[in-house]
């Protein structure tokens, strides 16, 4: 790898951004990485980036893997591996440090207060993420109806969600969305 390689530049940039991505990573990192690789560096065009994001959302595994796919589209396997490590290493080190710290301070009233406050905030963020998702990827009321229907089915039944995703793919392919 020479110094001109975008792999190192991209990975360093992602590693830095990943430290700012407090609160779930996916929501925050998505637009920032997109801005950097499309408008900033012009390594990908807008449609390629959007597709990478959509594919990673629909694929199994953590949504952060869209970063791997962006890396792969830009620089093949090296790009995929280094960008993935760039997302994971900084936050992993911090989390492992936080686990040590928490073990020592667990059980206090402040810990209790933190838990009581953070649980509802994270549920609110989760609901907001679902909402933002529909704003980003749903193109009309058909898609919104499918989103609500999927949520209702999941709440009322024990169906495996993978089957619902597959049904969504079929509905989309048939042109219903």
């Amino acid at each position: 790898m020479n110094e001109q390689s975008p792999v190192m530049e991209l990975s360093l940039h992602i590693a830095l951004m990943s430290l700012m991505a407090v609160g779930g990573g996916v929501v925050l990192l998505g637009p920032q990485v997109g801005h950097y690789v499309v408008e900033g560096k012009q390594w990908l065009n807008n449609e390629q980036f959007s597709a990478a994001y959509a594919i990673a959302q629909a694929a199994p595994g953590p949504n952060l893997l869209f970063v791997s796919l962006v890396g792969w589209l830009i620089a093949g396997w090296m790009g995929a591996i280094f960008t993935t490590l760039a997302v994971l290493v900084p936050s992993t080190l911090l989390t492992l440090a936080a686990i040590r710290l928490q073990a020592r301070h667990a059980g206090g009233r402040l810990t209790q207060a933190l838990g009581d406050a953070f649980a509802p905030i994270s549920i609110g963020f989760l609901a907001a993420t679902a909402w933002l998702f529909t704003r980003i990827s749903n193109v009309g009321w058909h898609a919104d109806a499918l989103t609500v229907l999927a949520a209702l089915v999941l709440l009322r039944t024990k169906i495996n969600p993978v089957l619902l995703i597959a049904a969504g793919a079929v509905a989309g392919a048939l042109g219903l969305i």
């Binding site: 959302q57 694929a59 199994p60 953590p62 989390t95 838990g115 406050a117 649980a119 989760l126 499918l146």
Partner: protein
């Protein structure tokens, strides 16, 4: 607990996790293996959102660490990433070949719509379990409803930066629940 068990459980839930691992992590860790209670899951999730980086991977690190220390944490993270990484790259190869096809693009759209529904259902499930035993005359429950609503409004409806909403709500919310805790 053996590292291979941790690796396999997280591999499995991650490989099933279409459109986001969170609902599957909840099913596997809370409902199937009972490694966490629903409330512990919500708290782990909340703690992990405080930390930078991918929330679900931080949850994996914490659960792995709880059952087998630092090597357990790394086993959980490796399980979470390895399989899906290969799948995503394989899909990328398919995309490079067939990405122009109309039907392919429409199918992705349908999958994304369902994926949003899965996240919504998880949020509802977690809210239900958090408020299941709530005492509505107590300030604690009312405060939690307010925090939930404010988090949704700030991030979802007003579309403010996540970091901004978080930096306002987290300290204020913690201070408020700390003071309410004093009333007991």
């Amino acid at each position: 607990m053996p590292l291979s068990t941790i690796f396999l459980v997280f591999s499995r839930l991650s490989m099933m996790g279409f459109g986001g691992v969170m609902p599957f992590a909840y099913r596997a860790l809370v409902e199937q293996h009972k490694w966490l209670t629903a409330e512990e899951f919500a708290k782990y999730l909340a703690t992990c959102q405080m930390l930078p980086g991918p929330t679900i991977c931080n949850v994996a690190l914490m659960v792995g660490s709880r059952y087998a220390g630092t090597s357990g944490a790394l086993a959980a993270l490796a399980g979470m990433i390895a399989g899906p990484f290969m799948v995503v790259i394989a899909l990328g190869m398919v995309y490079q070949r067939f990405g122009e096809l109309e039907m392919f693009r429409h199918a992705i759209r349908g999958m994304a719509a369902v994926a949003a529904g899965l996240i919504l259902a998880t949020a509802v499930k977690m809210a239900k379990s958090m408020f299941a035993k709530a005492d509505w005359r107590a300030n604690r429950a009312r405060l939690q409803v307010a925090l939930l609503a404010l988090a949704f409004i700030g991030l979802g409806l007003l579309q403010w930066q996540l970091a901004l909403v978080f930096c306002v709500l987290a300290p204020l919310g913690t201070a408020a629940t700390y003071l309410v805790g004093e009333e007991k």
